[in-house]
Each structure stands twice: as structure tokens, then as C-alpha cells.
């Protein structure tokens, strides 16, 4: 399938998904989907709650934080005692403390940054019982929070924004589990391995070598890792691994799975606020940026690799093929990596470290924009809504009214909460990068010097701070320093945005709705889309321009001078 056809197929598939999955999710969170009600009830009884038990934003956010915290502690414990747990055919020992902390934080925050090699560190029990469970649960937390924020817009004068436990349960039961199951079946049918039988040993009589081929519960983990924009695969090579990503179809399916929920949530949003156009506007803003970045990065990767060119191979018809699977090629790999960096997924099917400088620029800046195009499951929607609130505030002032978004006045409290949601990520990323390049423990991390080494550190901090998990590689992250700093990065990046988002929902829900009139600031037309894109790009650009100038831009401008 050619690159263009891939794009066309992807657009069609996502268009259908947007319409139907989006509307389905609205029904799920409205409580109109009941076919597994018999399963819901025991959960609620256990938690002592239920759909009628509405929560204020404080309790909602508190529930999300406590829930995540509990999994963090419990998961840490399980990784530390991995050696004593079943499903461990390779007899892998305990995961070291710093690495355990980084890993469990990574999965609880939907980041899936991996400072370990899956097949050499994690037992099957850890893969399934800790990591895969988190891939479901952290995705559900993100989606629940997004729904809570949207309720802020759709409700009027309400002290509550739903019930976290109910939203999360429904998300798991009706959305994540069924889709992941079906996708898993398809993946396994295509050849993704799914076994608990341990690594295969294959003797090659011709060369007299015995190969150990790692296996594991790969296929189904792959399904939720993409559906939940997690990105942490069972293998170190992630989706470049043929046993995880065996065919062109699975490659396509992985991209589609990743984009499906973040894209569809804009429809859900539109339906919840009784105007699908509103959701379509946000989707268009996302698609514009996404499309430009795909085009830019694909173009960059289609250019010859300057190092290879310097070695005498000037003619490189396949573009920059260093670090890429021959199966996928230059542009398709770029599409894949852009899709994964702009969804907070972070999976890779090619080595970003070997990308041309502008290719790295494409994936790196995709994350720096705050993971909103379309971003992670739930987190993409709630973060772009934060950007939209800022756009509405500035744009609304320019028409001479107290700005309002969907009839909700955007005032001091909303600006404050959106502002916090906006500033936590860039400050965290920049400050932690500054620390990493200043202290010895940080400076020994990157394999390269100069701008490329700088980019490797910046990329790692950006990826974790945006809960993406995409690794540029070329950075030895499994050190006490990077494990701990990375974990802090991920926690701040997750909860520094998530909590203000829930608070914003609470604040908006408590407000009455100003009826729309001709004088109302329209939030469903081209001008608004332009303003949202403007806020995303200008805020991202202004905060990260100097850092990026010192990384990929210098590298690009050096035209083949290497560091």
C-alpha cells in the first residue's frame, strides 16, 4: 500500500470511527449502554458508590489521584517481588528499585517510557498483571477526566461533575475491554505472538547456532497499548519487532487503534454539548497540525541521510533509511512515528535517533505542543480544551464581551486553572532538562555530544513530561538519576494538567449558561480553529524555540557537520 493510499485509508477509517465510536462513548458515559450492567453493579457495591453518587470536582480529582497512587504503590511492590511471583519462565529477578519506580510511574501516568528491555526484565506476570493492567486503567483515568471536564460545559449550575469510579468502570467495561479484545484477536491472527510458554529455542543446523527467541503475551498487550495510547510494548524493539508488528495490516491497525479514541472523543464532546460542530472544530484544529507535521516529517525523512551521503552514497532513493525497517520505508515510518508522538502513545517502528535532524524536529515538537493533536486518550481532549479556553479568552476579549465558551463565562478562575494546565508541562520539561545537562549524572547519559546529545536529553524529558513515552534512544536512561528525574517529570506532566482540568470542569459546571446570540464568540468556525491552532503553536513555539534551536535546528543548519 503506497504512502498516499495509507493516508486515505486512515482518514476514511478514522472518519467512521469518529462518528460511531464517538457517539457510542457518549451513550456509555451517559449511562445508556447497559449490556454489562450485571458486571457494573458488583464493582459499585465493592467501592460503596454508584451512578447516583455524584462527586464534586475535588472528590473527582481526589478519587483519580488516590486510585492512581494506589496502583503506583501496589505495582511498585509487584515489580520488586517479581522473582517470587508465578508466570516467570525465564526466572527473572526483582526489578531494581529506581527502575521499578520509573516503570510503574510510567505506566500509571499513561506514559510507557521504558528504561528497560521488556523481554529481559519483565516476567509474564509483570507484563500482564502490572503493565497491561495499567495500560487499561491509566487510559480509563484519562478518558474519565476528559468526560468530567466536558460535563463542566454541558451542565449548568451544577455542583458535581459525575462519579469517577462509575466513569472509569464504564470506560473499561464498554470501551477499552471489548475493542482491545477484538483488536487483539486480529493482531494474533496476523501473527503477533500470544503465549505464556516462554522463549522459543531454535537450533539452526546449518550454522550450528541456537537462537533464543523471546515470546510472551504480546498480541493482546499490543492491542491495549495502542488503543490506550500507552505505547509500551512487550519487546524492547517495540513495534519494529516482527513478532509484535508482523504485517502491513497490523502496522496500519496499530496506527488506527492509537488515533481512534483521541479522535472520537471530539465527537463525544460535541454530542455532550449538543453540537457536533463544536467537536468537529476541535478535530479540525487537531487534524491541521497533525497533517502538517506528518507532511513535514515525511518530507524530512525522504531526504538523504547526510552521514551516508558524506560516506559517498549520495543517491538515496529510499530517503533516510538508517534505523528504519525495510518493510515500512521512510515516509510510512515517519507517519507512524508522528502518529505516536502526537497521541502520547510513544510506540516506534523505527529509530528516531537515526532520523534526519528535521525528522527529529517533527517528532520532538509534536510532543512539545502538549499532546493535543489528537493527544492521548482523554488527556488529548482535556488538554486541547485548556488551550481552547485560553484561545476563547483572548479571542473573546477582542469582540468586546466577557469571553464565554459554550455559554460558560471564562473568568479569573478558569483562566487561572487553564493557565496552570498550560504552564506546568513546559516548565517541568525545561527545568529538568536544564538540571540534566548541568549535573554529571545527567551529562553522562547521552551517547552523542553537542546538539545531538542535547537533543537526546531534551527528547527524553519532553517525552516523559508529556506522558508520551517515545524514546529517541541514544540516551542511557536506566540510571538512578534518569529513573528518578524521569518519574518526577511524568508525575508532574500527568497530574499537573489532570488536576487543573478536573477543577476547570468543576468551575465551569457551577456556572449558568449565557444564551448564544449574534454577539457570541463562535467556537465552531474557521476563525476559532485558527485561534486554537495559533494558541497551541505559538505557546509551544515560544516556550520551546530556544531549546529546539540548540538541538535539531543547529544540527540541521550544520549541513552534515556531525557531533
Amino acid at each position: 500500500m503506497g504512502f498516499l493510499w495509507t493516508i486515505v485509508a486512515l482518514v476514511v477509517a478514522l472518519g467512521l470511527t469518529w462518528r460511531f465510536l464517538g457517539s457510542y462513548m457518549e451513550a456509555v458515559f451517559d449511562g445508556r449502554v447497559r449490556y454489562l450492567a450485571w458486571l457494573e453493579q458488583p464493582f459499585y457495591r465493592l467501592l460503596g458508590t454508584g451512578p447516583d453518587n455524584e462527586q464534586s470536582w475535588r472528590r473527582y480529582a481526589g478519587s483519580a489521584v488516590v486510585f492512581s497512587g494506589a496502583f503506583l504503590a501496589f505495582g511498585y511492590l509487584l515489580l520488586r517481588i517479581q522473582g517470587h511471583l508465578p508466570l516467570n519462565p525465564q526466572h527473572l529477578g526483582a526489578v531494581p528499585p529506581a527502575l521499578s519506580f520509573n516503570t510503574i510511574t510510567s505506566f500509571v501516568t499513561n506514559t510507557n517510557w521504558q528504561n528497560y528491555g521488556g523481554e529481559t526484565t519483565m516476567s509474564y506476570f509483570s507484563q500482564i498483571g502490572v503493565l497491561t493492567v495499567q495500560q487499561f486503567v491509566s487510559a480509563a483515568v484519562g478518558i474519565a477526566v476528559a468526560i468530567a471536564l466536558v460535563r463542566g460545559f454541558s451542565r449548568r449550575s451544577s455542583p458535581t461533575i459525575g462519579n469517577f469510579w462509575v466513569d472509569m468502570t464504564r470506560c473499561l467495561l464498554y470501551v477499552l475491554l471489548p475493542i482491545a479484545f477484538l483488536a487483539g484477536v486480529v493482531l494474533v491472527s496476523q501473527g503477533a505472538v500470544q503465549t505464556l510458554a516462554g522463549p522459543a529455542r531454535i537450533h539452526d543446523p546449518l550454522n550450528h547456532v541456537t537462537q533464543t527467541i523471546p515470546r510472551g503475551p504480546v498480541g493482546f498487550m499490543g492491542a491495549i497499548m495502542q488503543l490506550g495510547t500507552n505505547g509500551g510494548g512487550a519487546f524492547n524493539a517495540d513495534l519494529a519487532h516482527p513478532l509484535e508488528n508482523p504485517t502491513g495490516l497490523t502496522n496500519f491497525l496499530y496506527i488506527w487503534l492509537t488515533l481512534s479514541i483521541p479522535v472520537s472523543l471530539t465527537y463525544t464532546f460535541g454530542k455532550m454539548v449538543h453540537s457536533v460542530r463544536q467537536g468537529a472544530a476541535l478535530l479540525t484544529a487537531m487534524a491541521l497540525i497533525f497533517g502538517i507535521w506528518v507532511g513535514f516529517t515525511s518530507y524530512a525523512e525522504h531526504q538523504p541521510n547526510p552521514a551516508v551521503a558524506a560516506a559517498g552514497v549520495v543517491h538515496q532513493p529510499g530517503g533516510n533509511m538508517e534505523g528504519k525497517e525495510v518493510r515500512f520505508g521512510d515516509t510510512s515510518s515517519a507517519l507512524f512515528n508522528v502518529s505516536m508522538t502526537q497521541t502520547s502513545d510513544g510506540a516506534v517502528d523505527s529509530a528516531t535517533d537515526s532520523y534526519n535532524p528535521m525528522g527529529v524536529f517533527g517528532t520532538l515538537t509534536g510532543m512539545m505542543l502538549g499532546e493535543v493533536t489528537p493527544g492521548g486518550v482523554g488527556s488529548g481532549l482535556y488538554t486541547i480544551l485548556i488551550d481552547a479556553v485560553i484561545a476563547v479568552f483572548i479571542g473573546g476579549l477582542m469582540i468586546g464581551r466577557t469571553p464565554e465558551y459554550l455559554g460558560k463565562k471564562i473568568q479569573a478562575r478558569e483562566v487561572k486553572l487553564a493557565g496552570i494546565g498550560l504552564l506546568v508541562m513546559p516548565i517541568t520539561v525545561l527545568v529538568l532538562t536544564a538540571i540534566a545537562v548541568s549535573v554529571h549524572a545527567g551529562r553522562v547519559g547521552p551517547l552523542n555530544h553537542g546538539p545531538h546529545g542535547f537533543t537526546e536529553i531534551l527528547y527524553a524529558m519532553t517525552s516523559q513530561g508529556n506522558n508520551n513515552g517515545s524514546a529517541m534512544a541514544g540516551l542511557n536512561g536506566n540510571t538512578a538519576f534518569y529513573n528518578v528525574v524521569g518519574a518526577i517529570d511524568m508525575l508532574l506532566g500527568r497530574f499537573g494538567v489532570l488536576i487543573p482540568a478536573v477543577a476547570l470542569g468543576g468551575s465551569l459546571a457551577s456556572k449558568n449558561v449565557v444564551p448564544a446570540s449574534l454577539g457570541t464568540f463562535r467556537t465552531d468556525n474557521a476563525m476559532f480553529i485558527g485561534l486554537v491552532v495559533g494558541v497551541i503553536v505559538v505557546v509551544g513555539g515560544l516556550t520551546f524555540f530556544p531549546a529546539v534551536a540548540l538541538g535539531p535546528i543547529v544540527e540541521q543548519l550544520s549541513h552534515g557537520r556531525f557531533f
Binding site: I390, F393, I394, G395, G396, L397, M398, I399, G400, R401, T402, G407, I410, Q411, A412, V415, K416, G419, I420, L422, L423, P426, I427, L430, V431, T433, A434, I435, V437, S438, R443, G450, P451, F454, N512, V514, P515, S517, L518, G519, F521, R522, N525, M527, G530, L531, G534, V538, G541, L542, T543, F545, P546, A547, A549, I553, V554, L557, S558, H559
Partner: protein
């Protein structure tokens, strides 16, 4: 009539011309004072209230220290320009305040100590200082006296010169009882004697409040201003680490990063333009209202005016001229239009009411009927409540005009016949919202004069403007629904409330507000007070009662209810100015990056010179040019901040498109041009 006894107005000292005294934007006196105040405002306790400018001040101190330890022309230049940036911001605020202060001084001059003639319970007078008056005291004022304090007339009627407050030189009539009983301290009684019950305590009179307001003594930040300050703080908080981390980033790259350049970059990135002008915009917005002779009790009210979605407008005085005007002569029973006009003119010659005069004017316009010299043999018959007719007896002709019923009765008494079509015509005229007057000569009914409630010229276009802004206009009238509907139709209002009472008015406001709308209204009577208090923007007429003035949150000194429309526009303009300058400020950052980032690292990475798209002379001149631009743009925008950006009512989409284009796109492009120009200038002056 009282006016006959009025003395010539004393003109001993130049009478203050009210608060609306127009001053040019850059009055020399204000400029001078503002320059002085700009330095006074350097006090850190003042600066800390504006987070953006406070950061600039701190940055200036840092570069100052740097300049002392490593003296150099560049460091000193930057320090001076950063300091100027702070000064310019102070100057902008001082300019805005200066205009208010000048007005307050004018008002204060008239609050000279006045002696009051307080009445003792037994009716005798005693002289006390106005300062000693308390609420409930009765004072007496005669022609030539200044009213010592705010109060209500309890006895008498007088013409009062209120020019000190309103700037309007024509005296107004004030009388006890009804809605014209309020008098304001500082105004002058021109005729007759009134007894006033004091309603305000010292320091809380209208004049005191006015001084307070125009001076902006304890100006509170308005809700949108607070929200915007938060956004600007957020941007400042983001940009500080963005710049600070360049130190370690640079060190990692092997570069030595100049602290002075870092501070310059930070100052250029944080939104100094809007940060510097924000309070000036707010003060100037209040000031623009004062220029229109409207006093807002709080900035919050001005902002609310921009948000208003429903305007309640009294029909009389706002939508219609208040007087009905003759609009046509409709003959009956075979008579001609000219006959009707002729008779109507004769019947109205002595009628001094505006309606009567309008009949004479119309007859002249239509048929060139001049006012005839009637000679001596005529008697005017004035209007009386019993006959409900007026007219003229001349040469044994008795001509009458009046309400249909009365004239019909009169004709019947004389044995005349009422033409069949009369009733139909009368009803048609009434249905169209006009008043029919029937004209008869002796026993013959000639026809009908149509007196129209004349809708103000241009008011329909104003309502169209309001509609394009998404504002619904509702006409409030005591008329019956039929008449109300006709006038509403003609004036182009969206809705009307007929047979309105204070209760129905209040109920309407409440129901609009429950739907989430903000409501503005005008009122003057005491029975308007509850509605004025309930409305989000309640504009009390200065001619109104004290109760009305206290209930509303604005007072219109001109007592012109149409002004509500202008108030809404000022409110909107205020917000638009803030939003546009914020956009401009942020958009400017892009060019500044392209000037400073290459300069910062070009020594380490000469390749980054490619980012210097402006091809600036040298790293030093690049940074200095950006800093100078950043400072000068504040000064350049002061007039815009004080005047407000141009605002013309149109749809929100059109307004937004225009402002995004000018201040967003323009904000991106302008600094590229000007930074380059400043750089060229620096080179030309051999500064670098």
C-alpha cells in the same frame, strides 16, 4: 412662571463646565504631571501590583548590577532602555490617571465651604456650615444660594443651574413631589425659594462620589482585568524559566551566555506591552464614559455594559422624541386635504404645545399656508380638561380640534352630522400608533389630523447595530399593546413591554437574567429604583430622584436615555482594547526571538546566524534594537490605550476578523520591520 424672576446668572469666576470638560489627549498640564508621576511610581510597593512590570524592574536591577561590575557600552545601553521601559509603563498609567485628576480638581474647586440656612423645628432659620448638616435636616435655599448638600425638595419649586455637575448651561426646574424633586449639592438655585431635606451625609454627597470616581482613588480591578492579569502572570511565569534555562543549555553547548542578553530576552518575551498599558486602558475606559457625561459607580459596571444582551429602553425620550408631531391631514365627507389643513392651522395658531406648533409647521410645509394675521376679531379657545378641545373663534366661525369623542359630541350638539367614514379613519390612525385629532368647523367635521409619536431619527440604525452585536432591544411603554406594537415596529426594536408598571419591568429583568442574560436599563423615578438595582447595568438619569440614582450603578448627567447605547459601546471597546493589545503583545515575541536567539548563540554555533532573518548588524545591535522596540512600542500605543481601539458595531465574527488581522498578524509583522529600522538607525548613528 418661575423663570420670569430669574436673575442674570452670576459669572464672577469662570464657572466649571462640568466633568465632561474636554481636554485634548495630550494636554500639556497633564503631560507634565504624568512625567513627574512616572518617577513617583517607581516605588517597588507600587510596582509589585503589576507582576509583569515588576519583573522588568527586577531585571533592570540585575543588568544595572552587571553594568557596574562589568562596565560596557552595551550593558549600560540595555540597562537604560530597560529602565525606560518601566518608566514608560508608569507614564502610561499616569497619563490615564492625570485626566481624571484634572477633572477631580475642577470639581473640588466648587465644593468650597458653603453656609447652609438650616430651618429649626419652629420654622426660624439658623446659619450653619454645610459640613455640619446631617441627614434629615431641612434647609432653605433662595435664588442665588448654592444648594449645600444633596437632598429632596419638600416644599416649593425653583429653577436650578446644574451646569457645575452636568456642563449643561440651561437651567432645569426642580419641584417638590414627583420625580423631579432631587437637588444636588454644589448646584445653584436661580429663582424662587425651596425647602430641601438633606439626604446625604458629608463626604458622601454626589459631588464627593463624583470626585472619587473620576479620580479613580481606589480603583478596583474589574473581573476581566483580573482574569487578564492572571493570564499575563502565567505567561510571565512560563517565560522566566524559558530564559533562565538557556544559561545551563548554553553552558552545555560550550557557550558563555551573557546575563544581560538573557534579561533582555526575558523582558522582550514577557507581555510588557499589555502589562504596561493594562491599567491605563481601564482608567481611560472610565474616563471615556465621563467624557460622555456618564458616571459609572464602578469599573465592574462598565465591563458589564459590554456584556449586556438585553436593553430595556423607555419609549418616551429614548425611542421617540417624546412629543407627538403632526404627520398628515385626512379629510372626510368630501372635504379636501387643504381645507383640513387650513382649519387645523387656524385652530392651532395659539396652541403653544409642541403638538400644536407641529400642526402649523406641517400646514405650511404641505400647502404653503403661512401664519395669517388674524386682525382683531378673534378669540382663542384654550384646551381644557373638560372640553378636551381647543380652537379659535374668528369672524363667527368656530373652529375646533380635539379628541374624536369630544368633537363628535360638540358637532352633534350643534346639530351636525358625523360622516360615516370618520370612525374608521380614527381607528386606523390609532392602530398605527398615532393619535387622531378631529377638526371641525361649526357643525361640519372636516377631517382628522394624525399626530404621530415620532421615532427619533437614526434610532432604527442604532438598533440594527445593537442587533448585529447580539443585543436584544426591548421597548418599555405605558401605551396600550396596539400602539406599542406599531411604534415598536417602526422603531425596529426586537420586543416591547406594553402597559408597563414597575412590577412588570422588574419581572421582565428577572426573567431575562434567569436565562443567563445581562440586562441594562435606564430609569429616573423612585418606582424605577427596584428595577435599576436589579438590572446589571442601571443608568439613572441625573434629573431623577435620589432613590433612582442610588439604585443604579451609573448616572447619566445629561439625562439622555439614548446614551445607554453608547455606554454599551464603551464597555465593549474597553474589552476589545485589552484583548487586541494582548494579542499584539504576544505576537510581537516571534520577531524578538529571531533577533535575540541568533545573537545569543551565534558565537558558539555560527550556523544559527541563518535564523537572523532580519540581517541585523551585530549581535549587540540586534539585542539592543529588540529592547528599544519593546520600550518604544509602549509609548507608541499610549494614545491607542487611552482612546481605545476603533469600534464599529458589527457581527462578532467581523469584529474578531478585523482585530485578529490588525493586532495578530500586524503584531507578528510590525516588530520585524521596526527592529530592522532601529538597527539601521543604530548603525547610522554609529552607536554600533
Amino acid at each position: 412662571m418661575a423663570r420670569s424672576t430669574a436673575r442674570p446668572r452670576p459669572r464672577a469666576q469662570p464657572a466649571p463646565r462640568g466633568v465632561a470638560e474636554a481636554r485634548s489627549l495630550f494636554d500639556r498640564e497633564i503631560l507634565r504631571q504624568a512625567l513627574v508621576d512616572a518617577f513617583k511610581k517607581l516605588d517597588p510597593r507600587v510596582q509589585v501590583k503589576n507582576p509583569v512590570m515588576f519583573v522588568v524592574l527586577v531585571g533592570t536591577v540585575v543588568t544595572f548590577a552587571e553594568s557596574i561590575t562589568h562596565p560596557g557600552k552595551f550593558d549600560w545601553s540595555i540597562t537604560v532602555w530597560l529602565f525606560l521601559t518601566v518608566l514608560f509603563a508608569n507614564f502610561a498609567e499616569a497619563m490615564a490617571e492625570g485626566r481624571g485628576k484634572a477633572q477631580a480638581d475642577t470639581l473640588r474647586r466648587m465644593r468650597s465651604e458653603v453656609e447652609a440656612r438650616r430651618l429649626r423645628p419652629d420654622g426660624t432659620e439658623e446659619r450653619v456650615a454645610a459640613a455640619d448638616l446631617v441627614r434629615g435636616d431641612l434647609v432653605c435655599c433662595e435664588a442665588g444660594d448654592l444648594v449645600p448638600s444633596d437632598g429632596e425638595i419638600v416644599e416649593g419649586v425653583a429653577s436650578v443651574d446644574e451646569s457645575a455637575i452636568t456642563g449643561e448651561s440651561a437651567p432645569v426646574i426642580r419641584e417638590s413631589g414627583g420625580d423631579r424633586s432631587a437637588v444636588t449639592g454644589g448646584t445653584k438655585v436661580l429663582s424662587d425659594r425651596i425647602v430641601v431635606r438633606i439626604t446625604a451625609e458629608r463626604g458622601k454627597t454626589f459631588l464627593d462620589r463624583m470626585i472619587h470616581l473620576v479620580e479613580g482613588a481606589n480603583r478596583q480591578k474589574t473581573p476581566n482585568e483580573i482574569a487578564l492579569t492572571i493570564l499575563l502572570s502565567v505567561l510571565t511565569i512560563i517565560f522566566i524559566p524559558v530564559v533562565v534555562v538557556l544559561q545551563p543549555f548554553g553552558r552545555y553547548a560550550g557557550a558563555t551566555v551573557s546575563v544581560v542578553i538573557l534579561v533582555s530576552l526575558m523582558v522582550c518575551l514577557i507581555p510588557t506591552t499589555i502589562g504596561a498599558l493594562l491599567s491605563a486602558i481601564g482608567i481611560a475606559g472610565m474616563d471615556r464614559l465621563v467624557q460622555k457625561n456618564v458616571l459609572a459607580m464602578s469599573g465592574r459596571a462598565v465591563e458589564a455594559a459590554g456584556d449586556v444582551q438585553t436593553l430595556l429602553l423607555d419609549k418616551t425620550g429614548t425611542i421617540t422624541l417624546g412629543n407627538r408631531m403632526a404627520a398628515g391631514f385626512l379629510p372626510v365627507g368630501g372635504h379636501t386635504e387643504q381645507e383640513v389643513a387650513g382649519a387645523a392651522q387656524l385652530a392651532s395658531l395659539a396652541d403653544e404645545t409642541p403638538e400644536g406648533r407641529s400642526i402649523v409647521v406641517l400646514a405650511k410645509e404641505r400647502f404653503n399656508l403661512r401664519e395669517r394675521d388674524l386682525g382683531s376679531g378673534h378669540v382663542f379657545v384654550p384646551f381644557s380638561a373638560t372640553t378636551r378641545m381647543s380652537g379659535l373663534d374668528v369672524d363667527h366661525r368656530r373652529i375646533r380640534k380635539g379628541a374624536a369623542d369630544s368633537v363628535k359630541r360638540w358637532v352633534a350638539q350643534l346639530g351636525g352630522r358625523v360622516p360615516d367614514e370618520l370612525d374608521a379613519i380614527v381607528e386606523r390612525v390609532a392602530r398605527a400608533g398615532s393619535t387622531p385629532l378631529v377638526v371641525a368647523e361649526e357643525a361640519t367635521i372636516l377631517g382628522v389630523i394624525e399626530l404621530k409619536d415620532v421615532v427619533k431619527q437614526g434610532i432604527r440604525e442604532r438598533f440594527d447595530d445593537m442587533r448585529s452585536l447580539g443585543i436584544r432591544t426591548v421597548m418599555i411603554t405605558g401605551d396600550n399593546p396596539l400602539t406599542a406594537a406599531a411604534i415598536a415596529e417602526e422603531a425596529g426594536v426586537d420586543d416591547y413591554l406594553a402597559e408597563a408598571t414597575p412590577e412588570t419591568k422588574l419581572a421582565l429583568i428577572k426573567s431575562e437574567q434567569e436565562g443567563g442574560k445581562l440586562v441594562a436599563m435606564t430609569g429616573d423615578g423612585t418606582n424605577d429604583a427596584p428595577a435599576l438595582a436589579q438590572a446589571d447595568v442601571g443608568v439613572a438619569m441625573n434629573t431623577g430622584t435620589t432613590a433612582a440614582k442610588e439604585a443604579g450603578n451609573m448616572v447619566d448627567l445629561d439625562s439622555n436615555p439614548t446614551k445607554l447605547l453608547e455606554i454599551v459601546e464603551v464597555g465593549k471597546q474597553l474589552l476589545i482594547t485589552r484583548g487586541s493589545l494582548t494579542t499584539f503583545s504576544i505576537a510581537n515575541d516571534i520577531a524578538k526571538y529571531f533577533a535575540i536567539i541568533p545573537a545569543l548563540f551565534v558565537a558558539t554555533y555560527p550556523q544559527l546566524g541563518a535564523l537572523d532573518v532580519m540581517r541585523l548588524h551585530s549581535p549587540s545591535s540586534a539585542v539592543l534594537s529588540a529592547v528599544i522596540f519593546n520600550a518604544l512600542v509602549i509609548v507608541a500605543l499610549i494614545p491607542l490605550a487611552l482612546r481605545g481601539v476603533r469600534f464599529r458595531p458589527s457581527s462578532s465574527a467581523a469584529i474578531l476578523r478585523r482585530n485578529v488581522l490588525i493586532y495578530g498578524v500586524g503584531g507578528i509583522v510590525a516588530p520585524f520591520v521596526f527592529i530592522k529600522l532601529i538597527d539601521l538607525l543604530l548603525v547610522a548613528l554609529h552607536a554600533y
